[in-house]
């Protein structure tokens, strides 16, 4: 049984209409489904979102204000550390914890926007290739082959070099380089869908092609797109951190985890905390995304469930 988003939506619409016992049963089922979200993943993502949205309220210090008298203070449990700066300070006397909390904003934005841009592009091309087949399919598939063989970090760096660093440009680069994964899988699904009876009926009854794509095929491939997107959030965050690490990401002094790592690398020999904590923040965040993605894939694909 495929328990997908489509079903969920159907469930919800039935709840709206209200059908006595059936309704109670379905709300129960929904509740059960949500209860199965891995707690660790839910906790991590909640924490990340809270940090990103309420950073000014949570962060104990200003993330940008420099205070050279306080530079390179170790975390509180080490000699010379204080509770005012729990995770220590960097070379410019900025509080590491506050910068990590503010840095969550960049990661959240890049994670979501990157997935959205690449996901929409990839899904669109996949649906088009799978539905029309023939020459269009051939061209799109060779294009995905080319994109897969290109060293995408290099391409990303080269494009950023040309259009300049910054948040918007990073998201553009992520969109350009990361759509391939969606296209390959969605194309496959759209292909088998387009051979199914209900699509044939739609064609016979004279439905326009864009309506078939939008109303009949797209909703049926959305499950896969959502799973792929969730699994990709972590990749996007790592990608942004890598670009910022190379000095091609978000411009300083804005706090970003990759940028903090790059700063910390210089002071590695005598201030270990500079590079250590932002990395832990990245790893935990990506872990949360991966856990959620794995869970979602198992939920939506019963074949995988058997294996898990």
């Amino acid at each position: 049984m495929r328990r997908g988003l489509g079903e969920l939506r159907k469930d919800l619409s039935i709840i709206d209409v209200g059908k006595g016992t059936a309704r109670d049963e379905r709300t129960l089922k929904l509740k059960k489904q949500f209860r199965r979200i891995p707690k660790a993943a839910a906790l991590i993502i909640l924490l990340l979102l809270v940090c990103a949205i309420f950073s000014p309220l949570i962060a104990p210090h200003d993330p940008i204000e420099q205070n050279l008298a306080n530079a390179l203070k170790p975390p509180f449990w080490q000699k010379g550390g204080s509770f005012a700066y729990l995770l220590g300070t960097d070379n410019l006397g900025r509080d590491i914890l506050s910068r990590i909390i503010y840095g969550a904003r960049i990661s959240v934005i890049v994670g979501f926007a990157g997935v959205l841009v690449s996901g929409i592009m990839g899904t669109f091309l996949g649906v088009v290739a799978g539905y029309f087949g023939g020459k269009i399919d051939l061209v799109i598939m060779r294009l995905t082959d080319i994109m897969l063989s290109l060293p995408y970090i290099l391409i990303a760096i080269a494009i950023i070099g040309a259009i300049g660093p910054g948040l918007t440009n990073i998201i553009i680069v992520l969109g350009i380089t990361q759509w391939v994964g969606y296209t390959r899988i969605i194309r496959f699904e759209a292909m088998s869908l387009s051979k199914s009876e209900f699509i044939e009926m739609a064609v016979i009854s004279g439905t326009r092609w864009w309506r078939i794509l939008l109303v009949h095929i797209l909703p049926n491939v959305l499950n896969s797109a959502v799973v792929l997107g969730t699994l990709d959030v972590g990749k996007m965050i790592i990608f942004e951190a890598a670009l910022s690490f190379l000095g091609l990401g978000v411009k300083p002094p804005t706090a970003s985890w990759g940028g903090m790592l790059a700063d910390g690398r210089v002071y590695l020999t005598f201030a270990w905390w500079l590079a250590t904590f932002p990395g832990i923040a990245i790893a935990i965040t990506v872990l949360g995304g991966n856990l959620l993605g794995d869970w979602l894939r198992d939920e939506l694909d019963p074949r995988h469930q058997l294996k898990a």
Binding site: S149, A158, I159, A283
Partner: protein
Amino acid sequence: MGAYILRRMLQSIVVIFGVIIITFMISRVLGDPVALLLPPEATPEQRAYLTKDLGLDRPIYVQLVVYVSKVVRGDFGMSFRHQEPAMKLLLDRIPASLYLSLIATLISVCIALPLGIISAIKRGTIFDQIGMTLALLGQSIPAFWAGIMLILLFAVQLGWFPPSGYGGPKHVILPAVTLALFFSAATARLTRSSILDVLDMDYVRYARLKGVPEFVVIMRHVLRNAFITILNIVALQLGLLLGGAVITEFIFSWPGIGRLSLDAIYNRDFPVIQATVVVAASFFVVINLLVDIIYSATDPRVSRK
């Protein structure tokens, strides 16, 4: 099978041509080579002369044809930065990249295969849970941070290995482990799922029903059949690595293709950028092709599809 291989070869050639055309386009988007090569105080005559000399005054499609015909002969032109052909600069870096990728792949296989195999065979047990948790952690840790942490621990604190540079076994360990950590996580997960796929097969059930000892079932039926998929994964990773591990090479100052290409991008050294991108992509495509050929030779179902 012959027709299948021929078709795959044609596809690969199309892909490499596509990559060559994309590198041409990228270099045109990235900026004007004349402005980069000449100092700002150059006269308009000097600019015009260089434009003509580089062939930039000709129509764009002529430039493209000239470019492609040179590239297929391995001629990417002279590096803007160093007075040497771009291809030669690249070839000089291949041994370092090859060395690092082979060691990294070796380490990754040594970690990933036992982890994946044990997790699959002992599915659902504590071994499986530990193995897959490790793999998930490995996938969540960014490689460049892992590299920095390895330097911090093994070079700065313990002093066992040099923090960076090129040389013997001591120098290669940290960068290779950095790369291997990430790749082994993915390989372990894929190894596990490909073995689980085989375990579900009828012939495995039949062998068990027949009373074949479990060890023999695993060695003869399961591993042998899962091996091709695993080989596929490992080969593709090697193909990716050969094209240069940009960030790892940057962190460890490793003089491979990745470092060369990064420097070339910072210097806007177009011929070198183009050479590295085309060569890296070709490595990937060729290894992909080889894997598919081996695949179709061992599994006749592939070429019939």
